[in-house]
Assembly symmetry: C2
Homo-oligomer: 215 residues x 2
């Protein structure tokens, strides 16, 4: 599906080329773990990979394109979040458990890809469509899943004055993403993630069902 790996000038990369390319990506990712995004230099990545900057440019247009590559892999892995919204009963105790599972899925996913997600978030907020698309591919799946869940609950309840399901779903997803991306920040305050988890789960549950979760 991804097609073959190609160099910037269109040549198909062979075994050695792919290995080098992957090594560059790995080093770039490690670099992003430790240095501010703005300070990541091609020359450093190349040096870390034991190669030359020219080689980097053989495989990537620029740093952003390389990060986009990593982000695409991440997005593929992110599709597992989608499953957490499907075929769930969202009412009663089972519903709260489902909310907890969704929350945990987000927290774990963000913990794993934090530095990449930071860049994806920034770049898409800055209007870069390539990164926007990646972000979407992760979040849209979850958003539509939740939208359907909310629609279902609202259809049964029939109070008539509910909020728009897709807006509520989008808001919940944004919330999950934001909190997941600031886990370290929360810990640095006097707020424990152990307490944040139930707060998130409760909000997800209430956002979907409009009710307080059962004890």
């Amino acid at each position: 599906m991804t097609g073959q790996v190609r160099t910037v000038d269109g040549r198909v990369a062979g075994r050695r080329g792919q290995a080098t390319r992957q090594k560059l990506l790995d080093c770039l990712r490690e670099m992003l773990d430790t240095s501010p995004y703005r300070d990541v230099k091609v020359i450093d990545v190349a040096r870390m990979a034991g190669t030359s900057p020219a080689t980097f440019y053989q495989y990537f247009q620029d740093v952003e394109s390389a990060i986009l590559e990593i982000a695409n892999d991440m997005a593929k892995d992110g599709q597992r979040l989608k499953a957490l919204t499907e075929d769930q009963g969202w009412t009663g105790k089972g519903g709260y458990a489902a909310a907890e599972a969704l929350v945990d899925g987000f927290l774990e996913f963000w913990r794993e890809y934090e530095p990449i997600l930071r860049v994806v978030d920034l770049a898409s907020a800055e209007g870069d469509k390539r990164f926007y698309k990646v972000r979407q591919s992760i979040l849209t799946a979850v958003t539509t899943g939740l939208t359907e869940a909310i629609e279902e609950v609202q259809a049964k309840g029939k109070t008539g004055d509910e909020v728009a399901p897709n807006a509520m779903a989008g808001t919940l997803v944004a919330m999950l993403a934001a909190v997941s991306g600031h886990q370290k920040g929360f810990e640095t305050w006097k707020i424990k993630m152990k307490d944040v988890r139930p707060a998130l789960s409760t909000l997800v549950f209430m956002g979907i069902t409009g009710k307080k979760p059962p004890r």
Copy 2:
């Protein structure tokens, strides 16, 4: 309080110097509106301000320090958000109105400072303590305000199995900040901000009171 404006080498800036400095800050802010953070160059800012790079370095250590300056002004302005959490009755219809006002305050504030807040967010997530402090000074005030509100409601309700007030407050604030920072993103989907506002208000209300907002 801020003390006098000083150049990097410690001299106190006079009238002309302050004007130049401010012009540089203005141009930097405009630059951030239009270019990706990573692509903002000192030389461009200086050029736009009709001055030379050397002058820039007379007033700022580097680009980040200059942005931090802008961010500090913003934080000062952000203290108005704090007022939106104080002396509010958070129950019943008045409570929902208060939630709406808080949501609107966030949305407006983020609309005004979006590009700066993006950088503040990134830098503090990357562990830059200076930016982290700025972010805190805006959000902590609101978080503690909401924490108190939740504690008050819980004290009256006495169901005993509530979530931790500060975790809930922190989560709500993170949600508000996240959604506010992705307003354009929402609009690009098929989700209207007109629908997001009530979704946010509802979640804030439910997060605080544990009840569905009154019609």
